[in-house]
Symmetry: C2
Subunit: 376 residues, 2 copies
């Protein structure tokens, strides 16, 4: 089976590693260069989307910010899963919000902003504080503004107005600011037959808007079922096939959807080590028409992103059940270069191991891990 | 880090999959074709051993039946681990027997046979039954004869004589036949600093001399320590670096070495799913000078070889904690095409899952699994 992935980053690379044991060959189409490459070796296999599509049995994506003409061409191939509608919904906050409403999945109240009048109306109707997010291509905390007091409204509007003027395709989605206690995400898969399997809710800790640590451990059954219900509604609404991630805010024991990612997700990397069948394998099983694998937690596991560093002390490899995953990328400030998975037989043991790991990692490159340690 | 593997089969392929997350790039030198290939994509990267060695930081091997000139050239590169002596000992039963004697590791009494006089002397001194094994290139049950009664001696000698006449480099090692209760193996790693970590003893079940099922579960501490002591003696004697496998016969609670394999081993494939750090990762960590990973058992796990088949019912993928590993090979009768790993939280649960799996596998392609089921 030949699977083409739109995007040639670490997610395509990890799909290649997960696909090989299933005799699923992964090639990656780089939407920026028009090249077809092998995501592990980086060898160029060809160029052009037409050639890439012709050679593929199935087409999927590792990211959602894909030019529309490419999405259309993939959709027309009849091989694209989860398909253009799902990818678009993940890449445009307006569509995402409409999807969540249609599926009945709770999320923060919002307005779409194109003008100063819209901006002022949103403040009047939703109240402060508000978060303004770019509709397109905004992730990892980019293209976001917070408005806490009316005094700052003029200044924030000027920034937003400049942003909108620079790109006429853009819009802004204003959302009520949610005072959440935790950020959690649910990663799961839906098969072509409509079967759904979800991993346990993962607790996420962001630093400057970028995921730093994800923690998977046994969760409250009620919260898990609440998340699973929304996941099922969204996935069924999209007739989704593949792995889907939904990020939630936890507020007083309830969940509000923050955003969806129609793909394997950073907060699911722990499944490589902590779950029966990892998210990459399950995504490929789903899009290739194979049965889904078990999403059960084997043991408490956490994942730590390695950002902007291409080396970690090799002494960390002496910790038991530690998996180090580099992405083979060139070092750049803030870039996702790899991750560390750490498992243990109990929360207490995981906390002790995490503390040992933190001692060995340079604090400058791994800020705020101590904070996360306190939460385990 | 660039690691060259002598041999381009499934073990090199699985090293490539395990190496990628450590940013260790694997290329494979096919000793038959002189080609350098990528063991996952099969893309040709070059040709000739000199080129292959020049591009490598470390050289290792996935099999032991390697022409001596190639071993010598690798040894001279100063990059070869576990090194020519270990590979030779694994590929020549005479050297293997001498090694075991030197290291004080118990194995069946033996004689080296080059003539009919040697043959008759071995019978006189060791008694019957005897097993005659070719000194070179005999594995998976090939090049072996059993002599049970003196009546058959002439006939067996004629077969052996013809075998020796056809290849003047060959010799035969005669061994006392061991009436063993179980075949077990110990897979472990020794690092460049002399650190040793071994996985739990694995119970192996062969069909027609070829491994069919390996079973890893908590083992008797005394037996484990006994095996570990011999492993340590052999590995230290060779100043071994990398993963080493030792196959044992279990006889009345004691262990006799059957043979050693100076490499990752089929009976260690279960570690991909059942151990903290798998044998492929640990081999690469060892030869690349990194600390070894934990070899602890996570939960009972068994591995089933897929021989001569390139398809299995996809319904087996519905079983929890089942990993299917194909090697991307062309189908050929009896060929090792892939394997299945199956894990569970207890022996009883594993037995129940195994029974379900057996029900779904064609008995013609997977003979004798029922027998193994009775032993769990």
């Amino acid at each position: 089976m030949n699977v083409l992935v739109l995007g040639a980053g670490q997610l395509a690379r990890m799909m290649a590693l997960a696909g090989a044991p299933l005799n699923i060959n992964i090639s990656a189409y780089d939407v920026n260069t028009d090249n077809i490459i092998h995501p592990l070796t980086q060898a160029q296999l060809g160029s052009g989307l037409a050639q890439a599509l012709a050679a593929a049995d199935v087409v999927t994506a590792e990211f959602e910010h894909i030019p529309l003409p490419i999405l259309e061409e993939c959709q027309q191939s009849g091989k694209f899963l989860p398909g253009a509608a799902a990818i678009k919904a993940g890449g445009d906050r307006r569509l995402e919000k409409a999807l969540l409403e249609s599926a009945g999945a709770a999320s923060a109240a919002y307005r779409i902003i194109r003008s100063e009048a819209d901006f002022n109306q949103a403040i009047a109707e939703l109240g402060l504080p508000l978060v303004f997010k770019s509709a397109l291509a905004g992730y990892d905390g980019k293209g976001q503004w917070r408005l806490k007091t009316a005094d700052d409204a003029k200044q924030i509007w000027q920034q937003i107005a400049a942003f909108l003027a620079a790109d006429t395709k853009q819009a802004i989605v204003a959302e009520q600011f949610i005072r959440f206690e935790r950020e959690v995400s649910l990663v799961g898969a839906r098969s072509s037959s409509g079967e759904i399997k979800v991993y346990p809710l993962t607790e996420n800790h962001h630093v400057n808007g970028v995921l730093s640590v994800s923690l998977a451990r046994p969760v409250t059954q009620a919260l898990q079922l609440h998340a699973e219900k929304m996941f099922t509604a969204v996935a069924n609404h999209l007739n989704y096939v593949g792995v889907l991630a939904i990020e939630f805010f936890e507020v007083q024991g309830s969940l509000l959807v923050n955003e969806i990612a129609p793909r394997v997700h950073n907060s699911g990397h722990w499944t490589q080590q902590g779950a029966d069948c990892c998210q990459f394998t399950n995504h490929l099983r789903a899009v290739c028409g194979l049965p889904l694998g078990s999403t059960a937690l084997i043991r408490p596991t956490l994942m730590i992103n390695i950002l902007g560093e291409d080396v970690v002390p090799s002494s960390i490899l002496t910790l038991p059940a530690l998996g180090l995953h580099w992405y083979g990328k060139t070092k750049r400030a803030g870039r996702k270069m790899g991750h560390i998975n750490l498992s243990a037989n109990s929360n207490a043991e995981l906390k002790a191991l995490f503390a040992k790991l933190i001692d060995q990692l340079p604090a400058s490159a791994f800020p705020e891990l101590e904070q996360m340690l306190q939460r385990i």
